[in-house]
Symmetry: C2
Subunit: 237 residues, 2 copies
């Protein structure tokens, strides 16, 4: 696969509907990208893919370095990332990053963006999903029990995507970022953050999107997969 | 590209918003498939791709055999079709075909289907879009001036797709079929049809979807691309 093409396994609407019992080997995901986000079986934790390494950030605060051959994912989005734009900036919050990205890519309203930020963060507030308590439990219910952590003065990396509005339901429309600390001991799905001075930002615009759906998966086949735009915004944006 | 993978250029929401001044060479589309649907610059006519040949079915009733190197398309969906299921049946209308396909592919609710039907049709009622009168004129307005034709006792082929509900806006959710007569002189977007006795039906379920967005296209970049589900159902289903 070429650089800066989106590869996605399954769809966010399937997670909303609680389709998370099975998945595809993470090794297969890595054939399509070295940088991205996802989750694990039963929505147990947050996935970050960074330089081809895969980490599971769990609700108890621990981070596991994953063996891609031995673990499956019910949902992941990755790309083979090659930045086309790099800059340094102080970024205050998701709104600040949103504005910065829109400025860097003024013609990307209807395209995808991939982003990476490296540096020291004054504060990072994350959540980690603790997993389903029963099969088919939907993501809104899973996230109602999410654990949140706040890290201060932490060095680390943010990995994320911006998706155009028209893919809502297939993925998350808008911005979606995960964080992992440089020590690989802390991380999660970003709720809020502030950099400590300037950080390194690298990004690229993407116009090719490849989706692979679960097969031989009765849970996926039987799910209704209705568009739940409000729910997705609430738990995944 | 492997068999039975969906390849799509641009999105239906862009046509709804009147983004149809530019496009990609049809020769590039054919690299990804030999069977499918689409439209032409300014939504001038209906496209059918059949056994790798491309036809433009125009509002005046004429059909043009297209040179793929010399023509661009602002929207097309194709696959390299290899049927996995074949049958013969008498089919009465889109509702009859919907029921037949659901019976043939009981586990395809959240996947894509590709379909081909060959035989004699008692009646085929088609529409052909006559094209934009101004740039950015939206598809609902273009289709308000559509021409309809009814063919009776005509031998020909139906080509089409079924898309899952969650891609509404990206493509057309549900069934979408075009028809071309065996003499390649008549055809269009199917509004209604009835077979004359049994016809040959071939189809396949698809789980891989590849989307390529227009680049360097200000019309596409500037469009709002809001989801217009009702409008899409009205003009494209």
């Amino acid at each position: 696969m070429a650089f800066n093409e989106v590869f996605q396994y399954s769809i966010v609407s399937a997670l909303m509907d609680g389709v998370a019992s099975h998945g595809t080997p993470i090794a297969r995901i890595l054939e399509h990208g070295d940088h991205g986000l996802g989750t694990f079986r039963n929505m147990n934790g947050e996935m970050i893919v960074l330089d081809g390494d895969v980490y599971q950030m769990k609700a108890d605060g621990s981070v596991v370095h994953i063996n891609p051959a031995e673990t499956v994912t019910p949902f992941a989005t990755v790309t083979r990332f090659r930045p086309t734009t790099t800059t340094r900036a102080t970024v205050i919050g998701k709104a600040g990053l949103e504005e910065l990205l829109t400025g860097l890519f003024p013609k990307a309203r209807n395209h995808f963006l991939v982003v990476r930020m490296d540096g020291v963060f004054h504060k990072v507030n994350v959540r980690t999903a603790g997993g389903q308590t029963t099969p088919r439990e939907g993501m809104v219910d899973v996230c109602s029990r999410q654990t949140t952590h706040t890290f201060e003065g932490v060095k680390g990396t943010i990995v994320g995507f911006r998706c155009p509005q028209y893919v809502m339901g297939v993925n998350v429309a808008g911005d979606h970022f995960h964080f992992i600390a440089e020590d690989r001991q802390r991380g999660g799905h970003i709720l809020a953050f502030e950099t400590e001075g300037d950080v390194d930002i690298s990004a690229a615009q993407m116009s090719k999107f490849r989706l692979e759906l679960p097969t031989e998966d009765d849970e996926f086949n039987e799910a209704e997969l209705k568009l739940q735009a409000q729910g997705i915004k609430a738990v995944a944006g």
